[in-house]
Symmetry: C2
Subunit: 115 residues, 2 copies
């Protein structure tokens, strides 16, 4: 099955996980994902906006950075990320991410569940 980009559902989330501003999530795989895939979305985070800190247990989230730069709190450690980098969060670890730099931060978020 091919899902054309223009047909994808886009959700706007404000203060996601108590983050700042609004982020846009494009549902890449439709509403009915593979059973162990909880999220497969393109996420657009404007400069200064963020997804607040939250943890992942029983699942792993991958943030694949596509465009822009961001500041990640990677389970307590602050790290700057750039296109090509990947943030891996699971096993109860916490992360947050904020758009920095001059252009919106674009990433793909994939969550794969354990059970």
């Amino acid at each position: 099955m091919i899902i054309e980009h223009s047909q994808m559902e886009v959700e706007t989330k404000t203060n996601l996980r108590e983050g700042k501003g609004s982020v846009q999530m494009t549902l890449l795989g439709g509403r009915q994902l593979q059973k162990h895939c909880r999220i497969l979305s393109e996420v657009l985070i404007p400069v200064g906006a963020s997804i607040g800190p939250h943890s992942h247990s029983g699942e792993t989230e991958y943030y694949i950075i596509l465009e822009g730069t961001g500041l990640v709190d990677d389970d307590g450690k602050l790290v700057n990320v750039k296109p090509g980098d990947v943030v891996v969060t699971g096993g109860g670890a916490t992360h947050s991410i904020e758009g920095t730099g001059k252009v919106p931060l674009k990433l793909i978020a994939v969550i794969v569940t354990d059970a």
Copy 2:
């Protein structure tokens, strides 16, 4: 955990699934992925190169097109794909993909397994 792009392992696969030429796969999540995630890679397919037809049973593969254009055989139906489009293949369906146009086709491949 943050994996910097420069630290990622890159594999070159020639005639992948009996496709044409060579494709490059960058392992985005390292060698040890979440247990239901079999592949999480950036795939670079030069113009004219391809991944030949193959099916997916007991798992679902998502191709998220990032750059370039491609020709996909989507379980028997030929479809042109462009950045932002997603190819979803599971339940025993078959797919192949070839780089077309003028620049290499770049995509992210995610395979999530059922069991």
